[in-house]
Symmetry: C2
Amino acid sequence: MASDGSEFLERWHRIVENRDLDALEAILAEAPSLGAPPYWQKLTGRDVVHHLLGIIIETIEGFTYHREWINERELALEFTGKVAGMDLQGIDLITIDEAGQLVNIDVMIRPINAVTALMERVTPRMTEFFAARSTGD
Amino acid sequence: MASDGSEFLERWHRIVENRDLDALEAILAEAPSLGAPPYWQKLTGRDVVHHLLGIIIETIEGFTYHREWINERELALEFTGKVAGMDLQGIDLITIDEAGQLVNIDVMIRPINAVTALMERVTPRMTEFFAARSTGD
């Protein structure tokens, strides 16, 4: 496994470009966390983070990365895209571990109308996911 | 004038820490632009950008910078703070020119309830500002 931010970045780009949810799962650390636009509290756990990231990648159209910064295992990745026809700009702040796997990702997006539209599309699918998971327990 | 991102960063930290609006004005380029959390369209012009940045700096309590990335004249600065008792995490994506002055800043903040609370505090003051300016024309 790579411990270098630039190697992670190559894998990350392929995942987002191909919407490759299997490769996304493989790049997550054992106990990843995600700071999402709607909530202050972090979401935690491989299955939750994988599912939510997958929905976000599927929902944002024309996902394109722009400026990228790497400080060792801390990455800041600017992106743009559209949701419901509305332009958005966002940033992924990603921390990877020594094995090159994602341990935390914080996602911030502007403007607020795009965040609201994204939430409207993501929330029902996350609710379904949590409901199915609790039924499966 | 400094053209180095790290020198800009030192000045920027002092400005935010001291809420020093005169020093903020001095660090802005001739025609700066600002991508704010509420709007897709950039706000432009020295007086508008200065006024809005000033209000944001005054409104967010406990403004603290954390992870910082510099790629030559492109900076990404993570911050936390509070508005109306609510925690927030944000990022400033800043571009400086050859003279070391700010030409663009994009601000993204999570979570959405903090963005809404910030907007509620900022919007009336920006409306006042625009009204006074148009009266003054």
